[in-house]
Symmetry: D2
Subunit: 159 residues, 4 copies
């Protein structure tokens, strides 16, 4: 069983005409997993709905506790890209679990988005990697504590 937690970020953004802005909406994860005919058992838990720049220490602690408390050993977390590396560092050291964080640079609801590819990549990574905390973006796996987002280039790099 894979347990997916959502925390918000670009991947789940919805456009609101009324105020001409994007906010975090319902997660598309279940729809994407069904489109992909994934036969491995999975469940999705919505934890937070925030831009990752707005996440507090308390939020990160909440994520750490939720991950530690659930019975599953294979954990995927969707997360805004700006502070994904910081949350990975907080989760680091969680014993006995393989934890993969990922997000998207374009909302899953766009015609062109990295969301479905990144989700597929994360599902493979969470099944094949040993216990530990990882960031999975740009077709790469990064270990927690050794990754940063290059904001200007719009991609993740080893730190």
């Amino acid at each position: 069983m894979i347990h997916l937690f959502t925390t918000g970020g670009t991947i789940d953004k919805i456009y609101h005409d009324a105020n001409s802005e994007f906010t975090v909406g319902d997660s598309l994860l279940p729809e994407l997993l069904e489109e992909a005919n994934v036969t491995v058992p999975w469940r999705v838990t919505g934890l937070l709905r925030k831009d990752s720049l707005e996440l507090t220490s308390d939020d990160r602690q909440q994520v750490r506790e939720a991950v530690a408390a659930c019975p599953e050993e294979r954990i995927i977390i969707t997360h805004g890209t700006d502070t994904m590396a910081a949350t990975a560092a907080v989760l680091d050291g969680t014993p006995g679990k393989t934890i993969v964080l990922f997000g998207a640079m374009q909302p899953a609801r766009m015609r062109r988005s990295d969301a479905a590819f990144n989700l597929g990549f994360a599902v493979a990574a969470v099944r094949l990697l040993p216990a530990g905390v990882y960031v999975a973006m740009n077709g790469e796996v990064f270990e927690a504590g050794k990754v940063r987002k290059n904001l200007k280039a719009g991609r993740f790099e080893r730190d």
Copy 2:
């Protein structure tokens, strides 16, 4: 460097109005890899453009030789789902390479398709698995020789 070979199949099908049928068209792999902002080096080689039910022993031998001859150790092959397991069995035993076959149940050009998810899954699998030949479908990894397509259920299973 990841080397991707295309052989046809549902994933690259295009609709032709003139004769009301789908045929294999240009591969969407480069577009999907760019949408996903993949930073790992990759290149795509078009080998065949066939429904996998039409593949001959000679075709499979051609795939085996192309994979063996290229310098890359990380190989992804897109393939029609009906005989993907048969081609995986022919490739089995290729020394020193990690080879991942995948395809799609819906063409990549459809609004709803498993193509982008499956590609992301295959890229993670080819980077994380040891040398060997694998089928990566339905969010699962199957070893060559131990997998079959359940045509009725529309999914892959251990054999």
Copy 3:
């Protein structure tokens, strides 16, 4: 009230992996009309699910009778493109109604399709045109009896 009848054709085609072919599926018209936030009242009736090359004289008579029998004066018919002109000719002479036939060269379920544009065009046409029978394709309005499909060029022309 606009009454939309579906008869099949490319616009509603679905891909079936099991036999690697497209068949006519549930119509996407209701979904497309909702996406477009259409506030004019509308209803959809499914009449036939055929490639238009398979339509018989009886089928065309059935369409003519359904259109004549319904109380609405504004009628849209989705139809395969190959014999759309023939069905328009059969409907010609229906008194007191504005009837617009349209279809698509690419299924509505494809990422890139002319379906939504053509539907929008047909809705405007059926509201603005006087009583009569019209084919609305390629951003043009053609009168019944004066239109043919140029199969080679993949577009409709005045005949």
Copy 4:
């Protein structure tokens, strides 16, 4: 010949990961017109790239002058929805031209958007309506000066 002018608004919005916001990007109009296989001659001119709440009297005057100066009689203008009715009122009285304004509640780059439908509707409207200025939204045609956006309901209404 149909002449399309773009002024910005939701229809052409692009998501920027760097600052987590949408701005007006290159117009998708040419791509949408090509997807629809429109055979009527058309050309697109980019005039402004603004949210319609930011449009000034000078901007509206610029639109009026551009429309009056061009040789074409069939004019379509893409526009943000919030002040579309105000711009329509400024254009009213332009002699000898059929002018249709439209926009979208969801960016054209979203998987689900009203952009392609609304464009198709506008193309039919501009070809079939007599000289005058019109707003074409929600599958309806409104005359300039007699239309307002109902912000709360997210649709246009007669005023």
